[in-house]
Symmetry: C2
Subunit: 228 residues, 2 copies
DNA sequence: TTGACAAAACAGGACAACCGGTCTGTTTTA
DNA sequence: TAAAACAGACCGGTTGTCCTGTTTTGTCAA
């Protein structure tokens, strides 16, 4: 965790970037765990060890803080979790598969599903404010674009000739988003593997008949249910 | 709209069921348009033409009201929009396809995407309260179950032998949920058709090579953006 | 190096609006 | 005639924001 300012009476050390980072850290975590409206600035101030004046200096309104979290953290999370791995993968399908498995494995290890940060905020805020909605929509768009671009790269290598890049990307993003929504609601990460298997079994163009013994899916109901 | 009580000074007519219905009507619409936390009981009371005493008599807490909306309205919406059409369809795939198209057409006509009521509330409330989460998870479960059951019926008729019912159902629900999330955030219902086409083009087991001229998808950015 | 000084950074209280819930009392109805 | 249904005021707590003042820091002339 980021260090709080030392308790040195009479002395003070300005650290604008550090303080701003601490606030956004706390806000990102709280928005993800409790949502935007349920996160009060008072709680965030206490958790970050920041006074009202300092918070207001860096983020004049709560909306400004949300915008910063979206543009700096949520976008980065999508970039790190999805865009970079897909670009680095051998193919678009392989990239999608690896991300699904990585996230599924992470959720199973964590034992608790907080959901997708982008979708969490998108549901709560996209109808509430046009600016926030635009920022969130931009992240969705970049996400889709990266996958579609990867499909096009595959096509230039002679593969995926019968695949529509835009549609494939939409399907991947939608399936993941919906699977995370269900996983969060049911607190069961197994849905992710169900969806991935359904995509692989059915959505692969080289599949006309593969009814071999399918590895029985494991339902992994998460044990603990604790808030943030 | 449901009628408000007549302005008859000195006279009153008790109408428990009607009043309760009016409150749930308003709550359902407000939760869908603004979300749970952004909907104040004061606004709901004013919109429904109900006093604080009456509201408290029918719904002691805000959570009780949310639970009623979820159990009576959201569940019914999923039943009417998804379960019944799928059961009535000629096959599971045909049912899924028809629902996607029906919703897409409805959204295009409305010109505004409010999102899926179940997913909207699930994102905001499933981590906030165990009871609400359980209620929401139950609706997701019934939704998946109905689709899986339809696949099994298809299988007993000799079709869909290579399809895993549970996985297919998970994929359908996840794709729809995610597509609605994107459509709401982008205020563009075209994603639904993208996802449906991707599912049909790729997820059909009888598809090994169909690269015929794909009908160019139409991107239909919705014009108006007004809050409830 | 120092001292002046303006701007940035931070502290902390104040506040008005609002929220959800409770309470008492009245009217309707079975 | 008692319970259900409804009216309406009331309250403590919280929320987001604003405001005034203090401290730190960067800048630049001397």
């Amino acid at each position: 965790m980021t260090a709080r300012p030392k308790v040195r009476p009479g002395k003070r050390t300005n650290d604008p970037e550090g303080l701003r980072k601490r606030v956004i850290d706390v806000a990102e975590a709280s928005f993800q765990a409790r949502g935007y409206h349920a996160s009060s600035l008072g709680d965030l101030m206490a958790a970050a060890g920041v006074t009202g004046g300092a918070l207001h200096h860096h983020f004049p309104t709560k909306k400004a803080l949300a915008l910063a979290v979206i543009e700096e953290r949520v976008a980065a999370a999508v970039e790190a979790t999805w865009i970079a791995p897909v670009q680095a993968a051998g193919s678009a399908r392989e990239g999608v598969r690896s991300v699904f498995e990585a996230v599924a494995a992470e959720l199973e290890q964590q034992g608790f599903v907080r959901g997708c940060p982008l979708n969490n905020l998108a549901h709560e805020l996209s109808l509430a404010d046009p600016d926030l909605r635009a920022a969130l929509a931009g992240i969705f768009s970049a996400w889709r674009q990266a996958i579609a671009d990867k499909v096009r790269a595959d096509q230039q290598a002679g593969r995926e000739q019968d695949t529509d890049p835009q549609r494939f990307a939409a399907l991947a993003v939608a399936t993941y988003s919906g699977a995370m929504s269900m996983a969060k609601t049911a607190q069961d990460s197994g849905v992710l593997r169900d969806c991935l298997n359904a995509l692989e079994q059915e959505a692969s163009p080289a599949s006309s008949s593969k009814g071999e013994a399918v590895a029985k899916r494991r339902r992994r109901v998460l044990r603990q249910y604790k808030a943030f």
